[in-house]
Subunit: 535 residues, 2 copies
């Protein structure tokens, strides 16, 4: 699945892309290559292949299938070496890549060298480097790592190598993390899949006829196959939450200015109205908090002038403004009035409501403020340059537009006056939306507004590739800068066979620590309910 | 000084403006009107007139010349009634206005009614309403107050009355404050004076041939004459710090998103790159902190979606990241390499350095990062619409452009692509600037970067009216979102006779609480040094 054949008659851009893919794949450890025929191309569900293919040792399986928190504990105690853990994940990532085409850059050797250095340091000092000591971390393609090529999925950017680490990577390294690979993206990060002309298309490991979601879709597929214990994606419209939802994972979209974006590239750079944020993705919830807290404890405002001088809030994490987490009131957003989510989400919402009530919390209906206007504001902002930045970048190599909007051409760009008018409209909308959420205080019975909102991660489940999607259920958080945590809830048994179904827990702007704590409450309630309820 | 004569041949806009000024002046209490000839138009220094004119009682003089902290204490203890305090400031404000043309809206009666209500409440409950109980507060013209006209100094906006309070006013009212007047501004807030076609020109009470600075120049003149104990201005390029410096006052420019701007109007609304912020101005430093803390304690994020969920930081105020305030290292920015400030600033800087060293702190030279490029970024952002918003507003009434740039016409506006490119350049610049400031840690001897920077509030002192000015010494804080406190240091004995000379204390982004504490250290050092040094 990893490469498209190109012939000598392919245009130059296609040949350059094919050469890049071949160079990438040449970096996979030879003893992790799946023998031809191991997994027929027609096999849809490949989620068990890493375990069953026979290429991983018992210890590698134990490491890669452990909870990330347990891995960190064993690394910190010296029970597992950083090298052993890193090697296990590199090997499993290679297998995951062969199954789903999830990787863009393979720098396993650099990761292993760093792991060995950490092990040496540990032997010398007896101490872990930091809260992420020895943990391999996968990074979305756009995040700068010194010495690693960053084409951002554009043929025209092939050959660009980062001279220095991004601010996030600098902090992760200081915390002991081990970057070892980069993961696939939507072209320009503009849609909820993971396909571009350099690296091709990533598919969903639960059903390879479906998308893993995007734009951080490479992370989604890699993490779902446990080829990584913890990844970092970016989210400007749902790009960590959608692949988390579609791949059965957890993801966190922080508020603007908490996690440093400096040294991370993007499309439409300088578009500072709806800002992309970096956020963690993993197979359980606690690692999201661990990474977020490690970043804040690294004082990221030292490195990135856009970051807020706002350390980890212990009172936020303790839900001080939410009654300490006792008897929370969750607003259930079932339907935004524009597009009702597909039926599996209604079932997931009902299960979640029952679980929360069983745990002593309350659920009430939640109506979003003027969702159609929010959607217009989002898309008008996104399309403000008529996609000129994208088309200019495509023109560097002659490559075509990729993804579900491939047939759409360039539009008119706005003037500054029009752009400022759009901001002004957005400002008025956000004030009305804030007032509407706060007005729920009159009906919750706690004196507080609805503590958090629960909604689907999309209108659709993981879709067939390149099909229309509806993402206003994530966009509204980006427009309002609401922090949100995606959690996996169930699977679709029917229409989109085996597709994971995820929900989001959404809190008000700046409540990052609180939304992580409330998502944990929801996740624990679901697990307790699931354990006690016959299915 | 308050009104320009208009004849029947004046254009319509001039007649409408004259009618507005006449209506405003008709609201001044008749028994506060200066008899004709009391102060000849040729009298430059009118700073003593409120005390000497005989219109204010001994108690009114005592109230209005008390330190604002003492006034708050006496209000909170019931020693002074809110009504007596409000009446004294209304009466003195009327005199200040007649001397400098500083007011735009006169709502003394509403203020007095509110003061009486607070007094009734105090009698009933024995408790002050909040930290600003009974304190009259003056507000820059642009800040929305329910029921008060807000023309923003444009003839075309005359007759617009605010339907509701701005978020700031809502919080100030809840804290017990008494809004009673609005103050004059630069047309569109675009320059460092206070003149527009509706309200005319405000002059400096220390020398009426000079500007009070701006754009919050009405606040500057009013506060300098003690016609207000505490005011709120706005600052997008120095607009609270310049008039504070030119009028011998204190002012605070907070970081973005701490003080709510919601319900406050501005030019170029939706220009979210260099954001205007509201900040307090007063005759001493402590009231700036009192107001700022009162606003944060009012949880402004409930009311304004642009506000950060960032409560008052006690550790910031305690200078936890600055060695507890012991042996600070101040960087002295004497010359930005583009325009060297006029000589009185060099003297003020030297006095301040000596005072700080005498107090056990260290001073080192500070070179700003690429000031000329910062200046270009600032003006390119400000002029991105070719001043179309301003000219469109002027066209509503046919009024002309006012102020030092009156002769400049409309320019080309940028496209969104150009605007985003400017942002990107700004982002790169700010990263270099952050790194440069942090690199000073290698030379301070404390292991910390320079704790704060001290520089002039402008290249020029208070200028003759409508003369060229140089404001990059304030702009750099707006570009980088540095919080800054202006403090008065000395007076110019010569060139600009009697003009106050002020400096700024500037800290890194988000260090609002810390910069207030460090400014207090500077202010106390200056006072102690001045008391111990023969002059």
């Amino acid at each position: 699945m990893t490469a498209t054949d190109t012939t000598s008659t392919s245009p130059d851009w296609a040949q350059r892309a094919a050469a890049k893919r071949a160079a990438r794949d040449a970096l996979l450890p030879p003893d992790t290559l799946l023998p031809p025929g191991t997994v027929p191309a027609s096999t849809a569900d490949v989620s068990a292949v890493p375990r069953t293919c026979g290429l991983l040792s018992a210890q590698e399986l134990e490491i890669t299938e452990s909870d990330t928190g347990d891995i960190l504990a064993r690394l910190a105690s010296g029970q597992w070496s950083a090298e052993a853990v890193t090697r296990a994940f590199c090997r499993r990532a290679s297998i995951a890549h062969q199954l789903t085409n999830c990787l863009t850059e393979v720098f396993f050797e650099a990761g292993l060298a760093r792991a060995r250095a950490l092990d040496d340091e540990f032997k010398r000092t007896g101490k872990a480097r930091g809260p992420l000591h020895g943990l391999p971390i996968s990074l979305k393609e756009q995040i700068g790592v010194a010495g690693v090529e960053r084409s951002f999925g554009f043929v025209g950017f092939l050959g660009r190598v980062c001279e220095r680490d991004s601010a996030l990577v600098e902090i992760l390294l200081a915390a002991g993390a081990v970057p070892y690979c980069a993961t696939n993206i939507a072209q320009g990060l503009f849609f909820g899949e993971a396909v571009n002309n350099v690296f091709g298309e990533t598919v969903n490991p639960y059903n390879r006829t479906l998308t893993p979601g995007g734009s951080s879709g490479g992370e989604g597929a890699l993490l779902a196959l446990r080829g990584s214990p913890l990844g970092v994606g970016s989210d400007i419209g749902g790009s960590v939450r959608i692949p988390a939802g579609h791949c059965g994972l957890y993801a966190f979209r922080p508020s603007y200015g908490r996690v440093p974006y400096e040294g991370t590239c993007n499309s439409q750079e300088g578009q500072d109205s709806i800002r992309s944020v970096l956020g963690p993705m993993s197979t359980s919830l606690a690692p999201l908090r661990t990474l977020f807290k490690a970043v804040l404890d690294g004082a990221p405002w030292r490195l990135d002038p856009q970051v807020l001088r706002q350390p980890w809030s212990a009172s936020g994490a303790a839900l001080a403004e939410h009654g300490g987490g006792e008897r929370l009131v969750f607003g259930m957003l079932l339907d935004d009035g524009v597009v009702r989510p597909v039926p599996p989400y209604a079932r997931a919402m009902a299960e979640t409501a029952a679980a929360l009530e069983a745990a002593g919390h309350a659920v009430v209906p939640f109506t979003p403020h003027a969702a159609a206007e929010g959607m217009r504001l989002f898309y008008e902002s996104f399309g403000a340059d008529g996609m000129r930045d994208l088309f200019d970048t495509l023109a560097l190599s002659g490559e075509p537009r990729a993804g579900p909007h491939a047939a759409q051409g360039q539009g008119q760009e706005l003037s500054v006056t029009q752009w400022w008018a759009l901001h002004r409209r957005k400002g008025e909308y956000l004030k009305q939306q804030l007032d509407a959420w706060n007005a729920t205080a009159a009906t919750t019975g706690t004196g507080r507004p609805v503590d958090a909102v629960i909604c689907s991660v999309a209108g659709n489940a993981a879709q067939l590739l390149r099909q229309p999607q509806y993402h206003t259920y994530t966009h509204w958080c980006n427009l309002a800068d609401y922090p949100a945590v995606a959690i996996p809830v169930t699977h679709d048994p029917a229409t989109y066979a085996n597709a994971p179904i995820g929900l989001q827990v959404v809190a008000q702007k700046g409540e990052d620590e609180a939304v992580l704590a409330m998502a944990e409450i929801v996740d624990n309630a679901l697990k307790a309910h699931s354990a006690s309820t016959p299915r």
